[in-house]
Subunit: 305 residues, 2 copies
């Protein structure tokens, strides 16, 4: 008999992820607290539970959650009516939300106390990755839980990494994205300095791509138009991966850096820069639009308002 | 008849570069103001000029300079007895020094006024690149001068880029190395945060290498030991590319950013961090040892004192 997958949170990321599971033949039942998201899921002909209780009453073999923040994960997993208390012991729990490590560890520990396998499995790759099933999953949890989850994660993603024990998935994601936030601003500073110096940015970009100035933002996701096809900077900075999401991840990074007394001078500066950019109303722009901030009046590109 | 190459500045970089020219059959005559460097060149059986005047009296077809700073380049190129005034009009001038753009433009312009072809051609790749003839040359100057210089640069390097007109070689180098200084600190912050969070840094490194946190320092030159063979972090942070050189390049970047009113928040912070690190006596450590600064008491690796 086919496994029953309960999928909670069918927003921009969760919806295409659930769709890939359905395409692969999984029996997927979805739920979302947002009526708008549920209506969209209905249009896509997803099997919908009309309540959270109804979803869990279907005896799922796997529960996948894709939620905005730690407090949302807490709400669905903990408490008398939460997932951990309601599902059977052989149900596998997969939280794909990017959340703070503390909450992640708390949930994993509570599940373990009940004898339930749970992993934190935040993703990298954005909406495009979710649609193309090319996501990267960064998994925290026991080796056993990782091995159990791998086949279903492989339906939704391409690279599945076991980062360590519970919480390490979110830990690895936070470290990766802090480095990304820094290198995106660094790439923008370098290209905009070249522009101010009247050096052809196409030439500088080509040089950096082939030299020690290379980084993911330079080679894969350049922050200025005209350097690579198909990236948000060529599409009026429509996301992609939004500045709001980057700001959220940088906040998580700086919060946990403070807790463990890690020194993150550039991460902290990047956090402030993205925070201010979002407060100026740019949360929904692609995160590469941060080049506008460092570009000042030399930045003269199209951006969607 | 074989071309005569005058090579000025046979230090750690210039010496192996000159040697590669000799191996390729060029008639190379060298000079250095440092007696120590000249003695070393003598041991290597280089043809040595006993004075700057003597060097220029040999009617070189090409002059190559590899000097520490703009003031040194000015000294040898300008003035009544300088290179530009002394060589014949068909001599090709190649300044491989990494210097400020203003000086670079001044020299190129003076040469042009005399009808002499000159390029700025700073390199990337360090001492290893110089020895292996795998340097990257970033060239500023006319297309004609670039084309004339290309064959001899190809003897000493692998990638020869024409970045634009006079000064653009140094401009591109400065932009590239500013991005590098930033991403080296960013990579260090991310890996050291992972370490503080008790996540296996080998796993985080593997993840970042394959995800959006990737950068040249992550994939080619990791700042912590045990992540990649043959890099300075595995050799007690012996350079490689020294912190002092990175600090010099960041200073050049911030100086010219101020002149053209470019906004470089992370570049400026990186400049301060490297400057302080050097002032604490670490100029001769590899620049990846900056991981020690962001690592605090969690950084417990071997460093050569």
């Amino acid at each position: 008999m086919s496994e029953i997958v309960a999928f909670i949170g069918v927003g921009n990321m969760g919806s295409p992820m659930a769709e890939n599971l359905i395409k692969a033949g999984k029996k997927v039942c979805v739920f979302d607290v947002s009526k708008e998201m549920l209506d969209k899921a209905r249009e896509r002909k997803f099997d919908i539970a009309d309540s959270f209780e109804n979803l869990l009453s279907r005896s799922p073999n796997i529960v996948i959650t894709m939620l905005p923040a730690g407090k949302n994960s807490k709400k669905v997993y903990l408490g008398e009516n939460g997932i951990i208390n309601k599902v059977s012991k052989d149900c596998l729990l997969i939280d794909c939300s990017t959340i703070d490590i503390k909450t992640s560890v708390e949930l994993g520990t509570k599940a373990k106390e009940k004898g339930i396998k749970m992993i934190d499995a935040p993703v990298s790759g954005g909406v495009m990755g979710a649609k193309n099933a090319s996501l990267t999953f960064l998994v925290g949890g026991s080796r056993e839980a990782f091995d159990s989850a791998k086949p279903i994660l492989e339906i939704m993603g391409k690279n599945i990494f076991h980062a360590g024990d519970t919480g390490c998935g979110n830990g690895a994601k936070i470290c990766n994205n802090m480095a990304l936030g820094i290198s995106m601003i660094g790439a923008s500073e370098a290209l905009m300095l070249a522009k101010r110096l009247n050096i052809d940015i196409k030439k500088v970009h080509e040089i950096m791509k082939n030299a020690s100035g290379n980084s993911w933002p330079i080679s894969v996701y350049p922050p200025l138009p005209g350097l690579k096809e198909g990236v948000p900077s060529n599409n009026k900075y429509r996301p992609g991966f939004s500045a709001g999401m980057m700001s959220k991840d940088l906040k998580l990074a700086i919060e946990c850096a403070e807790e463990v007394k890690a020194n993150t001078p550039l991460g902290s500066t990047a956090n402030t820069i993205y925070d201010e950019f979002c407060k100026e109303g740019n949360s929904n722009k692609d995160f590469s639009a941060i080049s506008k901030v460092v570009g000042g009046n030399a930045w003269d590109y199209e951006i969607d308002d």
